[in-house]
Amino acid sequence: MVAQNIFFGVIAAIVVVSALRMVTTRNIVHAALYLVAVLAGLGALYILLTAEFVATTQVLVYIGAVMVLFLFGIMLTKAPLGGVMEMTGAQWPIAAVVSLLIGGVTVYSLMARFGSDRLTSDGPIFRTADVSDEVFSTYIVPFEAVSVLLLAALIGAIVLARKD
């Protein structure tokens, strides 16, 4: 249990620092690479939570597909690579206050409700087969809905981005 806590601390520190750098850096490509660090750290946390299928999907979908989409988006919109365009608007102090309020209230209520609840360490470990059993039995209708949603999003993206 001690080793798990140490690993959690290291990964959480990497994730939070990368996320902070992502929203404050002036170089948009650096921001995309910091986002990769955040997503990889979260994948490691899923492994720590014994959610192997979610961790694999995180790496495949986010670090593989979504990040390539983001990098293509950055390339096609010719965003200035240096600090040419000021990336943060003049409203950032208000944004900081709002996010501090949201984070503070959420953390306070979490501490009040789940203060010292321990994660059950003797619970069942769900492997990929268990996840797929659940998806294709209980959640078959949402699964089909998500397939249709992905198809619609694909067609929509092509229609929007096509040059007429």
Binding site: N5, V38, Q58, V66, T88, Q91, G156
Partner: protein
């Protein structure tokens, strides 16, 4: 491990994502911050799934990942279209509906 470790990490990531959405001027950066918020939710889903010993948390996390992928595809297409029409992805330039 405490359940709160994961929940508080998710709350902190969500707050950072909110800051990114509100403070950034670049349309692509706003979409990236939204991804941060969606990932913060996923941590909570998986952590609660482990806490209650059910597999539903992981299933919903996978659904959220799929929906996030669809959202990024459409969102980037919209940003691309805006750039093509207005030669800018600064979200402060798109204020046609301001009263």
């Amino acid at each position: 491990m405490l359940l709160n470790q994961f929940l508080i990490l998710g709350a902190v990531l969500f707050a950072i994502g909110v800051y990114g959405v509100l403070a950034r001027r670049n349309g692509v950066m706003v979409l990236m911050s939204i991804e941060l918020m969606l990932n913060a939710v996923n941590i909570n889903l998986v952590a609660f799934g482990v806490q209650h010993g059910v597999v539903s948390g992981q299933v919903f996390a996978v659904f959220v990942i799929a929906v996030a992928a669809a959202e990024v595809g459409v969102g980037l297409a919209i940003v691309l279209l805006l750039y093509r029409n207005r030669r800018s992805i600064n979200v402060e330039d798109f204020d046609l509906m301001r009263g």
